[in-house]
């Protein structure tokens, strides 16, 4: 399979959507089937040796704290999923690229509302709602962009979508042809949640599963949806075993190998429920009953509210359960899913929750095991027995279809308890009822990956040999349809974004290109309802269009509440009118050392005021932290909580060329006062002409420092080399020629 018109990405340039769309009719996927990460045992990365990591990336954005560990970005051994659903695939591609840079290698594309009920394939690039319409052009463009993104980050990316609804077998063929790597396929999902006729759903599913299996596409099931639907999600756990079992058993019977079957499982509860006590026995029982299969661990959505921090904490606990038991794939949920269609930066937040947790838990199994004695074993056994009883009743009552008809599924009772609130379906009803047709004795399907009785079932060769091969054997036979609708298509949607980009205009966005949506956080000190009304009015006066409260957290019913509001900021900034702050010149390390070492330069440094912070200063000065001592400066460090007078005394004694102060405590603008005090005292002693004054601290900026009499200021992210470059450049300029 040749790759035609491949896209090459450069880390400093945005994805060119025009390049992705060019030559699509000739594009072929470079590989088929699922790819796992490649684990590396005992991997040394930076200062650490990891137990549960995989090969590192060529390009990525590390976790924020990595700054203190040399910028390392270890990758866990589990595949990490993010779900992407903006409705416009062209915007999703940029989101996928951001996600890949943060460590996602399983991109799950949600389908537009209602696609399950469309009897056949959709073509072109129409806009979707809550997801994209899955069409050949959209998935081909997406796969092509992902090829470029995986080259950029240096790791294969699995592309995933859904084989459900009344067009399952056609979508399965499409996915096999276009190099989709993973898919949801579970006929029970159609029956319970989409009211698609159960006979149609199961007959279609066998064909779909056979197609997926032959293409090496990893299958996920849909059992986790029962968690998301049930009122008391932890009580449907016996049913979840039953649903997993039916889809798994059916998949095996249709010819799918065990290693392509992944069970989609969610820890069912969230705090303040005693989460681990309920969720861990369930997770253990599931992995014991289905030990032959893969596990896709999903994070909980059932109890998500609008507080993204609360959600993230639940997701950390979910991920802990994955590490305490096992997971092949750790899926992530955007923490804002409870309040809006996910925003792209929240995909990244969700990925980082999993990545940060899994790195923190690396090697946990060497230290901690789940206790076999105690309550766990009893709970595990009980869950399995409840599931066996459920299966027995299905058979006793006449099989699966009869059980669904009787409303046995998604009942909120803890089986065998029944609350009478399950989802009942008529075996002869639902979408697609009456469309299942008996095969005639001579029924034939002259294609590969076909399931069931078939006239063309050659003992040797392929069923498609009679006409030179089907599209799965000869992809040149695939019929590509470009755009059936000249209005509802990507070219129309791109007109404004491409024009604005060409004009160098930037707008804020969270979901679609230049949508203008911004989020503001406001604390309002008043009674809750009044505070909310005031917050909305404040957003209006900020000039935000359609302001809406998306999160409210009561700090105290009378003292005030915290609100997050979204609204549209209708502002386009012209890039070439921007004044960018000048970047200080950083000198080559060899040049710094060559100038400093022969000159015997002394520097006096301390943390000033009532301030015991010393970390920042050590990083700038100490040789072992890569500080400026290594260039040959003589550093006299006086410690913490040092007075300005003591500092200047030492500067005089050592004939220092510079004084460096660190000022971390900032309340009541203490940092500004310290800088001003240093300047005034040095001036009084007549030191200013020969003594450079430099301040550093997390809230210090160069402009602020200069405004308070310093020669320079250094804030967050400063390195010893930055400070040394400034000192050398300034002292060199002052040297007599």
């Amino acid at each position: 399979m040749g790759v035609i018109a491949a896209v090459k990405l450069s880390p400093d340039r945005p994805l060119d959507i025009g390049e992705v769309l060019r030559g699509l009719e000739h594009y072929r996927p470079r590989r088929k089937g699922w790819t796992w990460r490649r684990p590396v045992a005992e991997q040394g990365i930076g200062p650490f040796v990891y137990r549960e990591t995989s090969e590192s990336l060529a390009h990525s954005v590390p976790l924020p704290a990595a700054r203190d560990f040399g910028g390392i970005d270890p990758q866990c051994d589990m595949v990490i999923t993010t779900e992407i659903a903006s409705g416009r695939f062209e915007d999703d591609l940029r989101r996928m690229r951001m996600a890949a840079w943060h460590g996602a290698d399983h991109i799950m594309v949600i389908r537009t509302t209602g696609q399950s009920h469309i009897d056949g394939l959709i073509e072109g690039t129409p806009e979707g709602v809550g997801g994209i319409p899955v069409t050949r052009k959209q998935i081909r463009a997406t796969r092509k962009a992902l090829d470029a993104i995986e080259d950029e980050v240096g790791r294969p990316i699995n592309f995933h979508s859904y084989v459900s609804g009344v067009a399952g077998p056609e979508i399965a063929v499409l996915f096999a042809e276009e190099g989709v790597n993973g898919a949801h396929q579970d006929p029970q999902y159609n029956v319970l949640y989409r009211d698609i006729n159960m006979h149609r759903s199961f007959v279609d599913a066998a064909e779909s599963k056979r197609i997926l299996a032959d293409s090496g596409i990893l299958q996920l099931d849909g059992a986790h949806n029962a968690n998301a639907t049930a009122r008391e999600a932890w009580k449907v756990t016996p049913e979840l075993f039953v649903q997993h079992a039916i889809n798994t058993g059916y998949s095996r019977a249709a010819g799918m190998p065990a290693d392509l079957i992944a069970l989609s499982t969610v820890p069912p509860t969230a705090p303040p429920a005693p989460k681990l006590r309920l969720d861990l026995p369930y997770a253990v029982a599931l992995r014991e009953l289905f030990s032959d299969y893969r596990f896709r661990a999903q994070q909980n959505t059932r109890y998500m509210q609008t507080d993204t921090l609360e959600t993230s904490v639940t997701h950390v606990l979910d991920t802990l359960i994955s590490r305490l038991t096992s997971a092949d794939i750790q899926s992530t949920i955007t923490p804002d899913e409870g309040r809006n269609i996910p925003w792209h930066y929240n995909n990244i937040a969700g990925i980082n929750t999993a990545r940060q947790t899994l790195m923190g838990l690396d090697g946990l199994g060497d230290l901690v095991t789940v206790r076999e004695e105690g309550p766990l074993r009893k709970q595990v056994r009980e869950l399995k027995e409840r599931a066996v009883l459920f299966l027995e009743e299905i058979l006793a009552d006449g099989g699966y279809y009869a059980a669904v008809e009787a409303g046995q599924f998604v009942d909120s009772g803890f089986y065998p308890e029944r609350n009478g609130d399950g989802i009942a379906r008529d075996p002869q009803g639902g979408d697609g009822a009456g469309t299942v047709i008996p095969r005639e004795p001579g029924y034939g399907a002259p294609v590969c990956s076909h399931f069931g009785h078939n006239y063309y079932d050659p003992a040797n060769g392929r069923a498609c040999d009679a006409y030179g091969g089907c599209t799965l054997c000869d992809p040149s036979k695939i019929r590509y349809i470009d755009e059936p609708d000249p209005e509802d298509c990507v070219a129309q949607r791109l007109q404004r974004p491409l024009a604005e980009r060409a004009a160098g205009l930037l707008r804020p966005e969270v979901e679609k290109h230049g949508d203008g949506i911004v989020c503001v956080t406001l604390f309002v000190p008043g009674e809750t309802a009044t505070a909310e009304a005031a917050a909305l009015e404040m957003a209006r006066r900020m000039g935000l269009g359609n302001p809406e409260v998306i999160s409210r957290r009561v700090m105290h019913p009378a003292e005030g509440s915290l609100f997050e509001l979204k609204g549209v900021l209708d502002v386009a900034i012209a890039v070439d009118e921007l004044q960018l702050p000048g970047q200080a010149d950083v000198l080559p390390e060899a040049d710094i050392e060559a100038w400093v070492r022969p000159r015997d330069i002394h520097i006096v440094a301390a943390t000033v005021g009532e301030d015991e912070h010393s970390v920042g200063l050590h990083e700038i000065l100490d040789i072992k932290h890569g500080g400026i001592e290594k260039y040959g400066f003589h550093c006299h460090v006086l410690g913490t909580s040092v007075s300005i007078e003591a500092l200047l005394d030492m500067a005089e004694q050592t004939a220092a060329s510079a004084v460096l102060i660190s000022t971390i405590v900032t309340h009541a603008d203490m940092h500004c006062r310290h800088m001003q005090h240093l300047h005034d005292a040095a001036e009084q002693r007549g030191l200013l002409p020969r003594l450079l004054l430099v301040a550093g601290g997390s809230q210090v900026t160069d402009a602020l420092a200069r405004a308070h009499g310093m020669d320079a200021g250094f804030g967050r992210g400063t390195t010893g080399r930055d400070v040394a470059s400034f000192l050398v450049q300034t002292l060199r300029d002052r040297e007599p020629a």
Partner: protein
């Protein structure tokens, strides 16, 4: 819509499972699942649907629009039980056409009277 309400009678119901070892319980679980799945997969082996038939024609090199038109007409004429792919391939063989030519001829309204072959 749901089933009849019932209290949690687990303690009585589990009595006969109590004697089973964990391995025996797992084996019982798998055996029950196989028995539930068997009639479902048998129906799939012996039946087809419009989506399966469209997916067969897709694999034979027809576009989604062509597949929909062909299968809709075959279904209306009660021919789908023979298999859309078989109808097209056998027509091609009988008339000395390529598979694609046979399908296009059907789309133009020709040769329907010959089906099934």
């Amino acid at each position: 819509m749901g089933c009849k309400e019932r209290p949690d009678n687990f303690e009585q119901s589990r009595v006969r499972l109590r004697e089973l070892s964990d391995e025996e319980l797992h084996a019982r679980f798998r055996e029950l699942v196989d028995r539930i799945v068997e009639p479902l997969i048998e129906e799939a082996r012996t039946h087809t649907t419009p989506s399966i038939e469209r997916s067969v024609l897709l694999r034979m090199g027809f576009s989604s629009v062509e597949c929909r038109n062909l299968v809709t007409q075959m279904q209306a004429r009660g021919l789908l039980g023979h298999g859309a792919g078989r109808l097209v391939l056998e027509l091609a063989r009988a008339r000395g056409l390529s598979v694609r030519e046979a399908g296009m001829a059907l789309l133009e309204g020709q040769h329907w009277e010959l089906l099934p072959l």
